[in-house]
């Protein structure tokens, strides 16, 4: 018994010494990544992880950031808010990360933002677009940042595109009442579509686990709306689009950045053909930064980088830029450096972080043609 405890003590001491040695050399900074590697938006999580790793490798190949090698811990949040909160606590308390990249979706990023704020660890969601991630009840969570535009912007962009470019006057909206992202963009779309002189003929909610949309779609069909706005992730949108066409709904589908997945066409078949959605970037964009990135990602992962992955690459590099400017692994200093970023040039375009920590940047409108995404145009803020 005594011997056993002595052995345990020795091991513990060894571990502590090793840990002390690592931190004493000061050559390493640990970053956490929270991303959905399983569940309903797995394709998002995978591409975010791939891009994050590319950014880390590049930084380390150049000798690290501010003299520190980047070490990382990746955690799966399953696109579940509770799980996201658990892994955020794990990263901060157990792994002692100095900054977090994540989460990916809005509903997972909101709990992560609260924890990061409480623990005073800077966090940057590359892709969560809901305003509540950085500001809640009018109060800025000053440890939270993002490298993407926010929902009011993408809702407005699509409303304007529907009225001004597609010349449609009536619309129906179906959204997930339990999803902040879906609900937020739906409301913004309704408001701006109305302001531009359009009429919303149906504004209907469904639940997270619903798979039968026939009743709602029959309602949409009866309303005769010319546009059907579907602000949700690809897995749900695929189901709805497919059932809509089977129910004889002829409306033009328009949507949000959550559509951006190869699985959308797999689930929906040709039902989403001709649909337009707002995105953060398009691999067809001819800017040299974009083409260089597409080539790099393709060489490494054998496929085109999606928008969320590209944002993750930009976001991770923006965090590194902040660490470089801070010149230290102190979370408070990294936070201050992030807050002062005004002119970051990423693959998805130039961005500035505003007073709320939200990126101000342009959006791309894409169209689904022959099962592929075609770049239509860029919309500036």
């Amino acid at each position: 018994m005594k011997r056993a405890s002595a052995v345990v003590a020795c091991i513990l001491a060894g571990v502590c010494l090793a840990a002390a040695a690592a931190s004493a050399s000061g050559k390493e900074i640990k970053i956490g990544l929270i991303t959905p590697l399983s569940g309903d938006v797995k394709t998002f999580g995978e591409s975010v992880k791939n891009s994050f790793l590319l950014a880390v490798e590049e930084a380390n190949a150049k000798g690290g950031v501010a003299g520190m090698k980047i070490a990382y811990v990746i955690q799966d949040d399953k696109n579940d808010p509770t799980e996201a909160a658990n892994v955020a606590n794990l990263l901060i308390n157990r792994h002692r990360v100095r900054a977090i990249v994540g989460a990916v979706t809005s509903k997972a990023s909101i709990p992560v933002s609260d924890i990061a704020q409480a623990m005073k660890i800077p966090a940057l969601t590359p892709t969560g677009t809901n305003p509540k991630i950085t500001v809640a009840d009018g109060k800025r969570k000053d440890y939270m940042f993002r490298s993407c535009f926010i929902d009011p912007f993408q809702g407005t962009v699509m409303a304007r595109f529907s009225v001004e470019t597609l010349k449609k006057k009536t619309a129906a909206v179906l959204y997930d009442a339990s999803n902040d992202y879906s609900k937020g963009t739906a409301e913004v779309f309704r408001e701006s579509f109305g302001k531009l002189g359009g009429k919303i003929l149906a504004f209907e909610a469904y639940g997270k686990d619903d798979v039968d949309f026939s009743a709602l779609l029959t309602k949409v069909k009866a309303s005769g709306a010319e546009i059907l706005y579907l602000p949700d992730y690809y897995s749900k949108v695929g189901l709805i689009a497919r059932q809509a066409r089977e129910k004889g709904v002829k409306a033009q589908f328009v949507g949000v950045d959550g559509w951006d997945s190869p699985d959308l066409v797999k689930i929906a078949g040709d039902a989403v053909e001709g649909g337009y959605f707002v995105n953060h970037y398009s691999p067809d964009d001819t800017r040299p930064e974009v083409q260089a990135w597409v080539r790099k990602y393709r060489e490494r992962h054998g496929q085109l980088p999606d928008a969320l992955g590209t944002l993750a690459y930009d976001g991770t590099r923006m965090l590194f830029e902040a660490i470089r400017r801070a010149g230290s692994d102190d979370p408070g200093k990294i936070r201050d450096a992030l807050a002062s970023i005004r002119d970051f040039s990423g693959v998805t375009g130039k961005m500035a972080l505003d007073a709320n920590g939200d990126a101000v940047k342009s959006a791309a409108i894409l169209r689904i043609e022959g099962g592929r995404q075609k770049f239509v145009r860029t919309v500036n803020p």
Binding site: S38, G39, K42, A177, G207, S235, G238, D263
Partner: protein, 294 residues
């Protein structure tokens, strides 16, 4: 009027799928007084078997149904043998908790990467869905297939229960399994058969569900399972026609709520109806009161 009829058809499609799952709940309850919470997950396994049959082996539709039916039946018989039979004479709460355990086991175990995996998958359609307009109403071949398959299943069930030896055994065991055993009925075999039969219907339901709502994942059985269980209670648990009736009512109430009120109330209204019916008739619409035997 057209709008109403169209919505009624939507409700019918949903109700028929619930009915196939509800049968398993009601049969198992009728015979061993167990609410088999794992039934919704057996249904999920049926969907996945169909998925593999189509995606990986490109089997024709009848073989897809065959794979799901046989797979689910075998699974249910194994579950019964391993998890429920040892507890047959234990207090009922023990079996109930075991059923919940089996349900969670199936959900999380199949979500492992070595099995089905934790991801949402697009279910490949084995045929094209075509819709025909008649009098302003959209009919799909999908609804036709669901209707035909469900009716065939119900007729088969009716035949098995009332026209075969094992059916007579089921009715006898359901009435009083001790006496049935004394009369020479092999109670264990009859119970296994009932589990297998109920699961076979769930398997058929799983295939149809996958075709109708082409997206599957290992937690997909929870909601339909809960709804089908509610349908079985509504119709009178233990009664086969009751389960079908309950499922059709559930399908209509959900669809009509979404059609005339709001989709967010659909589950609320469905459960209100359940509570209302149970207050008025605690055994469900077609359930017969059963006196506790001493």
């Amino acid at each position: 009027m057209e709008y109403f009829l169209q919505q009624a058809l939507n409700g019918l499609q949903l109700g028929l799928v619930y009915a196939l799952i509800a049968l398993g709940y009601t049969m198992v309850y009728g015979i061993v007084r167990l609410i088999n919470f794992a039934h919704g997950d057996v249904f999920m396994v049926g969907s996945f078997l169909a998925y593999y049959a189509i995606e990986r082996y490109a089997l024709p539709l009848p073989a897809v149904f065959g794979a799901a039916v046989v797979g689910c039946a075998v699974l249910a018989v194994v579950i019964e043998r391993v998890a429920y039979r040892p507890l047959r004479n234990a207090p009922r709460i023990a079996s109930l908790i075991t059923a919940i355990g089996v349900s969670l086991f199936l959900e999380y175990f199949t979500a492992l990467n070595q099995l089905f995996g934790p991801n949402f998958r697009a279910f490949p359609r084995p045929f094209r869905v075509v819709s025909v307009q008649a009098g302003g109403i959209e009919f799909t071949n999908l609804l036709g297939i669901i209707l035909a398959v469900t009716v065939v299943c119900l007729l088969a069930l009716q035949h098995i229960v009332y026209r075969t030896r094992v059916g007579r055994g089921m009715r006898a065991v359901s009435y009083d399994h001790v006496t049935a055993g004394l009369m020479g009925v092999n109670v264990d075999a009859v119970i296994s058969f009932t589990f297998g039969l109920g699961a076979a219907f769930a398997g058929v339901g799983g295939v149809l569900y996958g075709i109708a709502y082409p997206q599957i994942h290992t937690f997909m059985g929870i909601m339909p399972g809960l709804k089908a269980f509610t349908a079985a209670v509504l119709g009178g648990i233990g009664s086969v026609p009751g389960a079908v009736l309950g499922a059709l009512i559930m399908g209509q109430s959900e669809t009509m709520t979404a059609a005339y009120l709001s989709s967010t109330y659909r589950d609320g209204i469905a459960f209100l109806i359940l509570i209302g019916v149970l207050l008025w008739k605690p055994t469900g619409i077609l359930g017969s009161p059963r006196t506790e035997k001493v």
